[in-house]
Amino acid sequence: MTRIWKETGFLDNDPWVIETEERKAGEGERAILGLDAFLGVVSDSNEIGFGVLIAPGEDVTKLQACLDRVALVALAFPAFNDGRAFSHASLLRGRLGFVGELRAVGDVLIDQIPLMLRTGIDSFAVTNEVALKRLEDRRLPAIDLHYQPAARASADPGGFSWRRRATPAR
């Protein structure tokens, strides 16, 4: 079963649903639209609080003009070794200044989560049993010292300009 995890713990009542032909958001749920569907809808609407799914091959900068109306961006990791969404996250946070929720969906594994956190992803749709167990135990295999800046806020450990130290979750 898929559960949503954030650094504050598991969420029990997550409303977001990735819409497909078969599955639509129902009562009390919120829809995550594909990028093209979102871009189609958003121009004819004054709504805010959209959810958008970015597939690995898509261009996140297409969101730029209407990002202030997006509450959640889901980044697809179709396989743990497809690392494109790490760049999507970096661009969304660093370049486009997205401050909403950034969610990793797909093959989300425990050893990748510390890296995802650093690129600015802050929620995780987790199915893998080992990952779920480790998250329940709050045993993230993270290294708290970093040799490069990243989207997630961090502290200056002193010394060379490129170095960072992890700060506790907000």
Binding site: P56, F80, N81, D82, G83, R84, F86, S87, H88, A89, S90, G94, R95, L109, D111, Q112, P114, L115, M116, R118, T119, V130, P141, A142, I143, D144, L145, H146, Y147, Q148, P149, A150, P157, G159, F160, S161, W162, R163
Partner: protein
């Protein structure tokens, strides 16, 4: 050389514990092999034909005697008493136990070494000119920048799951000894008209099944922009590099399919967006890293000139070693010594634990405690007084390390091949050994002169056959090994990919074929100063084809 500070020590220890946890989970069955594989690879652990293999980084090829002794200790304690130095300034151990690899890494960490990113689809060990900081022709030492790149790329959150591996090489001299044009990114450190340091940037070189020479995308990148520009390149690659076919996933294919003009535009656009970010290198940081690589204080040793001349006259073996294996240092009283790991008939790049210890002793006593590993699978003592060469030679000879063949036909590069490697189609080491034995006589090697033979046991080209003056590629045809020969390749500043000369040769005929090629060269060269490569570039493949396959084959 660079010394770890507290931050580095804490980081490497944390990385070892992270890996120990992964190994524990794997051994407990919590991690499936397919998920464990990229994790172990990112820490240099391969599953080879017979056993696990551990690849340890020797960043930009620089190490000291304490580190070399640790490499010897690991060979003795955890392996079978030897190690194999590779073409990417790493050392490989062929027989460690998986359960012991975290302990090996803990031991290595105690001397500031690691195996971080020696494999996997991430930014690999950054390599540099093995004569860096010592060569007479150097503009500036490339190692400070290689060290900055090493740090910046370590456990990079955005770039740990790239489409494929990513190799960066840096050189600081006009003579390119780091083969930068066959790397994913090649950086050529130079000065502009004002004397400021920066880089010519090359992208998209590589060997493997599609060998391509890199394209220059920047003639001069100011040093402060190094991390921003490299980030821009790797980001464009991470987003757009092919992931549908691992054989087309390297950046060279992206460069080829996108076109260098369009790719340059994308990289420059990305760079423009981040050039003034926190990645910009402060001048003070670059200079601070640079001080770690300061030239040792070399006292004047002018007596060496006369001593060297006298010793050469007295001992022909020393004379040939000194003329082949000692290169000019930027200080006229010193030389750069190549310690050949290519004994006649031996395995290229292998060193025993005892030999590693001896090299450490010699480096400590005579060479300011500095050792280098070259991409040609030899060791280097970068700073040796001419006055000490005789003593160094004698000590090396006692350890079986005084083979006087640097740059000669028996100084062969070879991958581990089918004797160890799970990917190989054919053996490399026995072929290297047979060629080495055939041409082993010092007189014959001297007559042939500069000639680089490089042997790969499969199309992945770890033995760099594409850039060998004579390249041998082992392939499998109908269950049998066959060696395809390429001629005219070169990995230096005039980089070129060798041309396939014709149909391949069976293992028992390949040494004869090499001999035919060499004899053909000797017969057609203008004079003994015309090297094999120069002669080949002058006459082309025809005379060699005719010699190998006959006139009839040529007509057909």
């Amino acid at each position: 050389m660079y010394r770890y500070d507290e931050f580095d020590h804490a980081f490497v220890s944390a990385r070892v514990e992270q890996f120990r946890d992964q190994v524990t989970r794997r051994l407990a069955g919590e991690l499936a092999e397919d998920v464990f594989k990229p994790l172990r690879l990112m820490n240099g652990v391969y599953l080879q034909l017979h056993a696990y293999m551990l690849r340890v980084a020797i960043p930009y090829g620089t190490l000291n005697s304490r580190q070399m002794r640790m490499l010897a200790h690991v060979a003795r304690r955890y392996d079978r008493g030897y190690g194999h130095f590779t073409t990417r300034q790493n050392i490989q151990y062929n027989w460690p136990k998986l359960s012991e690899t975290p302990d090996i890494l803990t031991e290595l960490a105690s001397v500031e070494m690691h195996s971080i990113q020696t494999s996997g689809n991430c930014i690999r060990n950054v390599t540099a000119d093995h004569f860096a900081g010592a060569a007479a022709d150097e503009v500036a030492d490339p190692r400070p920048y290689a060290e900055i790149l090493r740090q910046w790329s370590s456990v990079h959150p955005e770039f740990s799951y790239l489409p494929r591996k990513f190799k960066i090489a840096v050189t600081g001299a006009p003579s390119d000894r780091a083969a930068i044009q066959v790397h994913d990114i090649g950086l050529h450190l130079k000065k502009d008209d004002t004397g400021a340091l920066g880089f010519a940037v090359y992208v998209g070189g590589g060997q493997g099944r599609t060998p391509l020479i890199a394209k220059k995308i920047r003639d001069f990148l100011p040093e402060e922009d190094l991390l921003s520009y490299v980030t821009a390149i790797v980001r464009v690659y991470n987003l757009h590099g092919r992931r549908d076919n691992k054989f087309k996933a390297r950046i060279k294919i992206l460069v080829h399919e996108t076109g260098i003009g369009e790719l340059t535009r994308q990289v420059e656009a990305e760079f423009d967006a981040i050039r003034d970010s926190e990645l910009k290198l402060p001048e003070a940081d670059i200079r601070a890293i640079e001080t770690y690589f300061a030239l040792p204080s070399l006292s004047e040793r002018p007596e060496g000139w006369e001593a060297l001349a006298r010793a050469k006259k007295a001992d022909p073996a020393f004379a040939s070693w000194a003329s082949r294996n000692v290169a000019p240092h930027k200080h006229p009283d010193y030389g750069m010594v190549t310690i050949s790991l290519k004994p006649i008939g031996g395995t290229p790049g292998d060193a025993s634990a005892e030999q590693m210890d001896r090299v450490a002793d010699i480096a400590e006593r005579y060479a300011f405690d500095e050792i280098r590993v070259s991409h040609e699978q030899n060791l280097i003592l970068p700073h040796v007084a001419l006055a000490d060469l005789e003593a160094v030679h004698e000590a090396l000879a006692e350890a079986g390390l005084a083979t006087a063949n640097a740059g000669l036909i028996t100084d062969i590069i070879a991958c581990p091949g089918l004797d160890y490697c799970a990917l190989a189609n054919a053996r490399s080491i026995p072929v290297a050994q047979e060629i080495s034995t055939r041409f082993g006589s010092p007189e014959r090697q001297a007559e042939i002169g500069d000639l680089k033979i490089k042997i790969s046991g499969c199309i992945n080209a770890c033995g760099h056959h594409h850039v060998g003056h004579i390249g041998l590629l082992g392939v499998e045809k109908k269950g049998a090994e066959l060696y395809q020969i390429t001629l005219g390749g070169s990995g230096d500043e005039n980089a070129s990919i060798g041309e396939i000369i014709g149909r391949g040769f069976e293992p028992e005929r390949v040494t004869d074929a090499v001999e035919t090629i060499v004899d053909t060269y000797l017969g057609l060269r203008l004079d003994p100063t015309e090297t094999f490569l120069a002669a080949y570039l002058r006459v082309g493949p025809q005379p060699f084809k005719i010699a190998l396959y006959g006139e009839a084959a040529e007509a057909a």
